[in-house]
Amino acid sequence: MSHGRPDVPAPRMGLPDLGHGVGLRREHWDDLFAPGGAEGIDFLEIVSENFMARGGRPARVLERARAHFPLILHGTALSIGTLDPPDTGYLDALAELCARTDPAWVSDHLCYSSAHGVHYLDLIPLPFTAEALDHVVERVRGVQDHLRRPFLLENLSYYIEYAASEMSEAEFLSELCQRADCGLLLDVNNVYVNCRNHGHDPRAFIDALPAERVVQIHLAGHDDQGHVIIDTHGDHVIDAVWDLYAYTLERTGPVSTLIEWDNDIPSLAVLRAENHRARAIAEAVG
């Protein structure tokens, strides 16, 4: 996926700027395809597991979405960092979904969600160690070989930091993207949440990332409980995250941006308004 000189990828790794999109959620299956429903929505992100090996209405909605929008796939269960063997059943189902949807790229999270044969159904952070880096690089290459699609990993929101970590998250991500030749799905809300929860500087984190590897951005709301911020994807994007989004775009240039809202899902009109705000910021940054 390198472009030009092998060590200096083009912006977004040469992948397109799809504009401003939202996630395809069950609550909007009807409204999205009603007159005016798609206004201002340039692309849809599909949660892969919601449509893998699923018939019935989900399959029909997916067909319709495919006919109306560019699609990208975003998973939560790849478990790229597990020490368990790669789940070929999962990868086969994901490859089949790719064949049905022809996504511009596929993404998942830098984490593990299963180990010892058990799926936790949650995203568990990895330590930022050389051993973990070697392991994830190898796994990413395996996924790329299996899917034959551009592949991105998302920076995780995490609530603990390991004493065993040997490098910063930004250093880990930079090395990972370069060695595995994958892209970065930068969740700007996760950057804010992590920096608040662990006392880091969000702008320094953004500055330390390889801007040309940022292929997509996520924006979301969170739940500030005072002593900790939980990444709920259940509220509006806050002003500080909008500011960090603008700061990021100044370094990356235009990047496909998605509003993620997974809990207490509002009307499509509310999502469109958030999407509109993201677009206005991107246009202001130029």
């Binding site: 090996a53 019935g56 020490l83 999962y90 058990v118 390991y162």
Partner: protein
């Protein structure tokens, strides 16, 4: 600390095999923060149960947290799909019923007071999820007369569909007396949504006749029923989506 040790330590905490405090100490992490993950892991399983077995959950009332705890401990999720975390629940209920038969009420799992009816209810609600997930191709407009390819009939020793229908009306009837019943689970050909349908005599007749490859005239001849009654049964079965490729006209 090696990655394997970290994952093993985290695993023990997530599965309730060690406390968040012990795991956090080993990992050099904040135990209150680590406990967020243990709550999430259990909460996702609870969520899968609640979304796929809403009638069972409603009837469990105050016992529900203890039921989730017992299930979570006994059946670690083995599949990446969230909904599949509920897959073992019917078997869990059945095993609990068998293990607690004759046990003093109020102790351990016997406190749930489950009978074979609760096993049926869990089986029925999970069957509905399986039906709505079925990947059988959607019958086209020119499909020949036949059964809905997603149709799964199930026999129960209790009128389980009546209880599910009552729940849909906002009612909470007591545990019913045993009475054999057949319930059809399937995807609606029109919408793709999961559906269930009590097997009324006319619907059961139509399903059996179509499954045998009989057109209405042949079904009427074989059963001795008037052709008009057979056609009405086929129409009723097609209206609710049990058979496809049927046009009353």
């Amino acid at each position: 600390m090696k990655l394997a040790e970290i994952q093993a330590t985290f695993h023990q905490a997530l599965r309730g095999e060690s406390t968040p405090e012990a795991a956090a100490a080993a990992l050099g992490a904040d135990p209150r923060r680590l406990a967020i993950y243990t709550r999430f892991a259990r909460g996702h399983v609870a969520s899968a149960l609640e979304s796929n077995l809403p009638v069972f959950r409603a009837r469990a009332s105050d016992d529900w947290p203890a039921i989730v705890d017992a299930y979570f401990a006994a059946h670690p999720p083995r599949h990446w799909a969230l909904n599949h975390a509920a897959q073992a629940f019917p078997g869990f209920v059945q095993a609990t019923v068998e293990a607690t038969a004759g046990a003093p009420h109020g102790e351990g799992p016997a406190r749930f007071g489950w009978t074979a009816f609760e096993t049926c209810l869990a089986q029925a609600e999970w069957a509905l999820y399986r039906a709505l997930s079925d990947t059988a191709p959607r019958p086209g407009p020119q499909a020949p007369l036949g059964l809905n390819p997603t149709l799964v009939p199930m026999q129960f020793p209790y009128p389980v569909a009546d209880v599910m229908l009552a729940h849909g009306r906002g009612e909470a009837p007591p545990r019913p007396a045993p009475a054999p019943s057949i319930v059809f689970f399937y995807q609606s050909p029109a919408t793709g949504n999961g559906r269930y349908q009590k097997a009324r005599p006319d619907l059961l007749f139509a399903v059996k006749a179509v499954d045998a490859g009989l057109d209405p005239a042949a079904a009427a001849a074989a059963s001795g029923q008037p052709l008009a009654a057979v056609r009405a049964a086929y129409s009723a079965a097609a209206d609710v989506g049990l058979i496809v490729g049927w046009s009353a006209g």
